[in-house]
């Protein structure tokens, strides 16, 4: 048996790693490589946004002012605070306070649900007033060229972000289960840390989406 594995729950240290520290570093590097591909995935949409905002500056400004700024701002605060609770969950796990870590993860999941709920209210309003992408656009309030394109970009960006919120919730639920099983401690918490990294990326993307969509 590995000297490092003493005191760890079984199955944490892979036999192909010479030490837990090296395994942790490999896990972190792998996660950051994945996050880099996520950044590039969103970069494609941000580039599309830049192109069409450049082509249709008035339409983008006008449509942006018809979004629910209050709901967007509340969602920004919700996501920022959920990032804090994830960071705290990792902090509590690495200082051996598993109960507090689990509570922080539950709060994070509730914030994530709140975010999706608010987004659903916004989407429902868009469907009702028909501010929809492409040929489905029939919004009475803004009738200038490029308005349909704004809502295409809006739905693609917030939609892909929403998918990431749902994926993040699945990851955090799985990590919550493992926290309750007592798998994370001051000796080993890298799994929890990586799940947290994913959630922070979801927050990072929204930090850019919020001013670019709601505050033109």
């Amino acid at each position: 048996m590995h000297p490092d594995a003493a005191g760890l729950p079984p199955g944490i240290l892979g036999h192909h790693f010479s030490s837990l520290a090296r395994q942790n570093e490999a896990m972190r590097l792998g996660m950051w490589l994945f996050l880099a591909t996520e950044v590039l995935l969103f970069a494609g949409l941000f580039t599309g946004y830049a192109v069409y905002r450049f082509q249709f500056p008035e339409a983008f400004a006008e449509c942006s002012r018809h979004l629910e700024l209050t709901l967007g701002t509340v969602n920004t605060l919700v996501l920022i605070t959920s990032s804090l609770t994830v960071a705290l969950a990792i902090h509590y796990a690495r200082t051996d306070r598993r109960r507090a870590a689990a509570i922080c993860l539950v709060i994070t999941l509730l914030f994530a649900l709140t975010f999706l709920g608010i987004k659903a209210v916004e989407y429902a309003a868009h469907f009702h007033e028909r501010s929809l992408p492409g040929k489905y656009y029939a919004y009475e309030a803004v009738k200038i060229p490029g308005a349909a394109m704004f809502f295409s970009v809006y739905f693609l960006m917030t939609g892909l972000h929403g998918v990431h919120v749902i994926a993040g919730m699945s990851v955090l639920s799985w990590i919550l289960r493992r926290t309750l099983q007592g798998r994370y401690s001051s000796q080993y918490y890298t799994g929890l840390e990586l799940g947290g990294l994913y959630w922070h990326l979801v927050d990072l993307v929204w930090i850019f989406l919020y001013p670019l969509l709601y505050l033109i």
Binding site: P3, D4, S19, L20, A21, R22, N24, E25, R28, L29, W32, L33, L35, A36, T37, V39, L40, A43, G44, F46, T47, A50, V51, F54, Q55, F56, P57, E58, A61, L69, T73, T76, L77, I80, T81, S83, L84, V86, A87, L88, H91, R94, T95, I144, P145, G146, S186, E193, G196, L197, H200, D203, L204, I207, F208, Y210, P211, L212, L215, I216
Partner: protein
Amino acid sequence: MSESGTSGRPTQALHPDDRHDQRAHSALPYFAVWIALLFFTALTYLTGKQHLGTWALAIALIIACTKSTLVALIFMHLKDSSGTTRLVFVTSLIFVAVLLFFTVSDVATRFRPATPAGAPFGTERSQPEGLLEHELPE
């Protein structure tokens, strides 16, 4: 930088990058970053609502970049990460900049037939506030 002198102890299997795990860990920086993020959100909200024209986008992006830097360094622990990890993330950002720069440069230097139908072009684009077209500097 390194104050480690433990290389001679065989029982110490800690990687140098994991040394920060061994220090007493405080949650204080997380709360500080959270308050800073709330502040910057208020700032972007207030400046965004003013519709400051030319500078609005630059201000919004500078605030968003500041917020992301805080999240990446403190919440995502990039501050305490190894150089390899940082390199991966910074590399992705460089490629984002390349993608954005060349695409926008292309779009910005097109001639009229290459712009989409209905898109304003040249003098049809929004003018600086308070000036009519014939008042604009040559």
